[in-house]
């Protein structure tokens, strides 16, 4: 026989009180009515959506620090924090520049005074003068950043190798030793290198590796893969791929220098060290061993 949860049906409005009388007494019905009405008047617990959201964002930046739990690391971070405070105070008093920097295995994002959005990859730094922004829209970049520029806004990104002039667009800039790359995803950017200027429209990129210039087409991407926690490379020297892996996971990788200039095309994830190591070692027929935070790559003897 099918179970008839008549009280639930009554509560839901599917049964009337008269129909309920077939199962229970009027006295009981009155108690149920009182229970239902009183419970209905209870208020849900207090919850402030905005402050809770801020707490989530705060936890997001603090997460990587929480994971490292040993006392030694806590001690090191305290020292680092003190040094950081001293450095920041120095910058504040002497330069009045705004600086955003990321460490190994860290990414961050922020807004420029014109509300353009900037995403910083690991081990990178951007600095600019907030006070002088109206007259002098220049910022300095070390490392890698993706810019989503507010329409109608113009500014210049300066790096040690080249500079990029922006015209209301979305683009990614990388500058690491001897490597400079500008990828344009939307709009138009203009990149200058050694006195030469080139315009890079959406869907294209300019790459300078060891002073050699190349123009490439992006594969219908809408934004750089590192924003989605993947690093993608096309014909890049293996040494660069490994350096980026070291930055993302904060590990040291040891390998035979003979393969440093072997060209690599592929992708590794930022979320799992094993998967990432597989992705870079298998194409080159290597094995990997992890010892604490050092990885050793060796040729596969099979």
């Amino acid at each position: 026989m099918k179970q008839n949860y008549f009280l639930a049906k009554w509560l839901n409005g599917e049964l009337s009180e008269e129909q309920l009388l077939q199962h229970i007494s009027q006295e009981e019905i009155d108690v149920y009515k009182k229970i239902a009405n009183t419970a209905n008047q209870f208020e849900a617990p207090d919850y402030n959506v905005e402050s809770e959201y801020d707490a989530v964002l705060a936890k997001k930046s603090a997460t990587k620090i929480k994971r490292l739990n040993s006392n030694f690391v806590k001690y090191t971070f305290r020292i680092a924090a003190m040094v950081a405070i001293i450095i920041v105070s120095y910058y504040y008093f002497s330069n009045t520049k705004t600086i955003y920097a990321t460490k190994f295995a860290e990414k961050t994002s922020f807004e420029l005074p014109d509300q353009s959005k900037v995403f910083l990859n690991a081990s990178s730094e951007i600095s600019f003068s907030e006070k002088k922004w109206k007259k002098n829209r220049n910022l300095d970049l070390m490392g890698e950043a993706y810019f989503s520029v507010k329409k109608g806004s113009k500014f210049t990104v300066n790096t040690a190798i080249g500079s990029v002039a922006v015209l209301g667009t979305k683009f990614n800039v990388v500058v690491r030793d001897q490597f400079f790359e500008v990828q344009c995803f939307e709009g138009l950017v203009s990149a200058t290198f050694l006195g030469k200027t080139a315009k890079i429209p959406a869907g294209n990129s300019l790459r300078v590796l060891n002073s050699k210039i190349e123009f490439l087409e992006n594969k219908a991407e809408t934004n750089p893969s590192w924003l989605k926690n993947n690093s993608t490379f096309e014909s890049m020297p293996f040494s660069y791929v490994i350096k980026e892996l070291e930055r993302q996971f904060n590990v040291k990788v040891v390998y035979n220098s003979a393969i440093a200039s072997t060209l690599f095309t592929g992708t590794f994830t930022h979320t799992d060290l094993d998967l990432a190591l597989k992705a870079v070692s298998i194409p080159l027929n290597l094995n990997y061993t992890i010892k604490k935070d050092t990885v050793i790559l060796q040729k596969n003897e099979n």
Binding site: V31, N40, Y47, T63
Partner: protein, 171 residues
Amino acid sequence: MNLEQNKNYCNEKKFSEFFLNQSKNLNNYIYYKCGNLELAKDIVQDAFLKFWNNCEKVIPGKAKSYLYTIANNIFLNEFAKSTVVLKFKSHKTPDITNQNPEYLMEEKQFGDKLQNAISKLTEAQRIAFLMNRIDGKKYAEIAEILDISVKGVEKRIHGALVSLRKTIGNI
């Protein structure tokens, strides 16, 4: 503006909208489970954080159930079950026909008895009952969130009502 990002929860705008729509209900749900508001808020924050860290894995349309799965797992893994005590404030509905102080006192006492009785329900009955009475959720939505059938929800609600009447009747 960012049309290409609309399907992906890794986009901050989409994530914050998702937070806006789901956080309070999730907080209520966890609170109904454990009766500890600070704990509930903490679990909600951690659940959204884990959701964000796994944002690429999220299938549109399954985001809410993924979020609840994460929250349930955090609850089970990290927090032991202790006695549940739930406290609720009451809407003050002005009853113009009866402002008699004795009546109001009796109403308050009944409210307190009911709170205690709710805390003594099984977790399953308590959650379903409160989601219906306080959050105003229909049985179909409760069924979806708890991953059970509508019949299952009816069973819990029916059981909750019977249990509450018995507990209150015994005081």
